[in-house]
Symmetry: C2
Subunit: 215 residues, 2 copies
């Protein structure tokens, strides 16, 4: 991935938070020269020794656990919101007209190796961890223990767990950091007045990123 230096994000806390906020990963493999990708939610696990790994599971019906070798190198992508940026948003455009459209987005790329987990207690623990995190916003959080035990057991036996041991992680937060302060604010203003939820999400991200940069 080509990342201009102004957009490059390497702070691990920021990257981890991004994955927690946008946990649907694109898991990309290249097997016998065929690129393929699956879309799977991930759980960012901090191990007791402080190591951070990414855990998930797939249905046994998904052939990935058979075609992909143990320890194979994979690329994982996490996507934030994205949207079109009109030159109309830049106050500087009014002066000399020197402005063109662009697209703002933010992504995190993780390179690592995949290890499959067939142990039902490992899978059961993951199901608990990932549910607990996502149920936090519910009025009455659902818990794995709410489902009948034989039902859960059957489901656990129908999936294969896996863990990605992270070798490298980088963010490409393309959020107008190459613009002047005035044009940056102009983009936030333009997006905030839009009716598109993607526009508003990108505006929020630009605001957060600006605060982080000013710290």
């Amino acid at each position: 991935m080509h990342i201009p230096s102004k957009f490059k994000e390497t702070n691990l806390d920021t990257l981890h938070k991004f994955i927690q906020d946008y946990p649907l990963g694109t898991l990309i493999t290249s097997i016998e020269n065929l690129i393929d990708a699956d879309h799977i939610p991930f759980y960012l696990k901090t191990q007791e020794n402080g190591q951070v790994t990414l855990q998930s599971h797939i249905a046994k019906a998904n052939p990935l656990w058979k075609t992909c070798s143990e320890g194979q190198e994979i690329l994982l992508i996490f996507n934030g919101p994205n949207t079109y940026i009109s030159p109309n948003f830049y106050p500087s455009k009014k002066e000399a007209g020197k402005a063109v459209p662009t697209w703002n987005y933010s992504v995190v790329h993780v390179r690592g190796r995949i290890h499959f987990k067939h142990d039902s207690s490992w899978i059961f623990q993951l199901l608990n961890d990932i549910s607990d995190v996502h149920e936090l916003s519910q009025n009455i959080p659902w818990s794995v223990s709410d489902a009948p035990e034989d039902f859960t057991k059957k489901l656990v036996s129908a999936v294969v767990g896996f863990e990605v041991i992270i070798e490298n992680m980088v963010g490409n937060f393309k959020l107008s950091q190459n613009k002047t302060e005035s044009d940056y604010s102009g983009v936030i203003n333009g997006l905030t007045h839009s009716e598109s939820s993607a526009d508003i999400s990108v505006a929020k991200q630009m605001q957060n990123n600006q605060h982080a940069a000013n710290k």
Copy 2:
């Protein structure tokens, strides 16, 4: 990509519309066994003979146009909104408790071959086409001709165009189609009452998908 049959979308009009709605593509290559990906907005071009291709451009600073062979096979992914689905959303959960969380999302995968374009008039036409499409929602749509000609010429010379000749296209619209009508409506209802824009976007997509299925 593993796609259960209920989620599989092959209608070309639907897939084209999806790409137009979510045009930021993930362009994935595998060069000398290294998987890599760039994130680039695409323009869906209908040629005079009716053939549909995907056009875009990259900065010359991006080495892709040098490392990637002419006509190389690539995988392109377009992502719609996605979100967590709580078992609390299913009315059927109240009866037997047999429910677990899942994640709803929709993606389109395009397999094709990439052809680079160095002709400035080709690039200029693309810049016009892609701007015109995205400026439609602006009160006063910006046009390439609004920028000074020498400025535009300089920009055109700093990018490389490319076109993806499509060989295969498939959608994975994982939007609770495997649920009963009552649980499907429960999910839409649960997501609609959320404060998260991703939830509301997925709810809208489920409504559109339901209408399309009922046609």
